[in-house]
Amino acid sequence: MNLNIFLMDGYGMYVWSAFVFTFLVCLILYFKTRNKAVLARGEEFNYITDYPQDLYLYDHTTKQDKPIISYDWFPSQLKKITKSYNYPLFPEDFAYYLLNDNNTLILVSAQKKFYQNLKFNIQNKKLSLVDNKGKLDFIISSFARSCGYSSLKDNFECRLYKPLISRNLISSIE
């Protein structure tokens, strides 16, 4: 075998190293870009197909999510239980608050003309009205605060938790 094809009269070291460097750098850039593109593809999928987004429930133990408030059934279901209000309402017309029992979802109307609030039982998938003419027997703040000492050595600390609110909530300016 003619080794001179690879040795190139002593210049092989320079030529091969230049070519290897070029293609190695190109490959690194390609794989880095591809990884980012693959990650972004998931984001694009969420954006294109899920908009308007339904509300999902994520179970930390099973690591699975399931839809709880769906765009398909919500307006028609709501129309049945609200006889006095004929206009269609959609999931994003409400803010969502999950109660301590981890099963009751309170839907607070963002439509000022719609005075009623809703209650959704996650286990039974039952939507019902909170029968108090729009008034709730608990306070909703934009942040939940929990203060205290986590141990004797620690300082007094306050932690803020953000309640569950629909990302697609479009609040009306009235």
């Binding site: 984001e43 954006y47 300016i173």
Partner: protein
């Protein structure tokens, strides 16, 4: 029922409709327009008294919205001017382009490598070391071309705030940087057998190093500066410096006495390189250009998705 919101923006609505339902639909349409970047102004919700009117753009957008009261989920929104460039269509197009490039690039790489490493002749003076030219020269051309394009787009974005220009230059900059690095490294490797040194502070080499540094500063300025206005100002400043440097890179071999040889391939003038060497050089250039297109398409797609995510968060 027909009504016009503003000159150039027309909503054609068929069927019986109540005002709240209409408001909701307009909200949806407007949100979609915001997300698709058709409406460039800040996104606001439509309200019953249509106080959104001042925020609608001056450009003529014709919308045809067919709404049936009972079948509200089967709405059709037609935006003829922008239909082709809608995100879903654009993504399909980008995917098709990427796939077709991927299928042709590998055979082309093999052919160009065979030509440049084995079939092309040796140089009379430089011997086999001339083969480094097949990666060094196209990468230098691409590095220079990328910065010219980036410079033009940055200034365009700075003057007219064109979001698309921003996405394009963000996608182009890493490609330019990589090819500038390849050009510098392969050049210094070529320098050792030809000049007897890896590096000399001559005008062409130094100006190319300056270009490489400008690429790094440019990328850092849009990556680490959060303020969009400040970032675009700095990018525009770097671009002006870079474009000036491009002229120095181009004419350094003619203006000063340098170690680097003058350009052998001319677009307008006479090319001094032999056809047997020009063929592998052209093939390698084609491979590099296809590679650039592939990386650019992938990056462009990623940048669009990122921008859309930002818009979605704003809602």
């Amino acid at each position: 029922m027909r009504f016009s919101l503003k000159k150039g923006v027309r909503f054609i609505i068929k069927g019986q409709i109540n005002i709240l339902f209409l408001r909701h639909k307009l909200n949806k349409i407007y949100s979609k327009l915001c997300l698709k970047k058709i409406v460039k102004k800040s996104c606001f919700s439509l309200v019953e008294d249509y106080s959104i009117l001042p925020y609608l753009p001056q450009s003529s957008i014709r919308l045809q919205v067919k709404i049936s009261h009972s079948k509200f989920l089967k709405n059709k929104i037609k935006v003829p001017m922008f239909e082709f460039l809608s995100p879903s269509n654009l993504f399909v197009l980008l995917n098709k382009l990427s796939k077709s490039i991927k299928t042709i690039i590998i055979p082309l790489i093999i052919i160009s490598l065979v030509f440049s490493l084995f079939l092309s002749p040796q140089d009379f003076i430089q011997g086999n070391s001339v083969r480094i030219m097949y990666v060094h020269v196209p990468s230098s051309w691409i590095a220079l071309a990328c910065f010219s394009l980036i410079g033009f787009l940055t200034i365009l974005n700075f003057l007219f705030k064109i979001k698309n220009a921003l996405i394009v230059y963000k996608s182009l900059a890493p490609i330019g940087l990589i090819f500038c690095l390849i050009s510098l490294v392969t050049g210094s490797i070529w320098g050792q057998p030809t000049w007897g040194t890896f590096w000399a502070w001559d005008a062409r080499l130094s100006s190319m190093l300056v270009l490489f540094l400008l690429y790094i500063i440019f990328i850092c300025s849009y990556k680490f500066i959060k303020d969009q206005n400040l970032s675009s100002k700095i990018c525009a400043g770097i671009s002006v410096l870079g474009i000036t440097n491009l002229f120095i890179v181009k004419y350094s071999v003619d203006l000063w006495s340098t170690l680097h040889q003058p350009s052998s391939v001319q677009i307008l003038g006479k090319t001094s390189i032999h056809k047997s060497m020009l063929l592998p050089l052209s093939l390698m250039l084609l491979v590099f250009l296809l590679y650039c297109a592939l990386i650019f398409l992938m990056k462009y797609r990623t940048e669009i998705i990122r921008m859309k995510r930002k818009s979605l968060k704003r809602l």
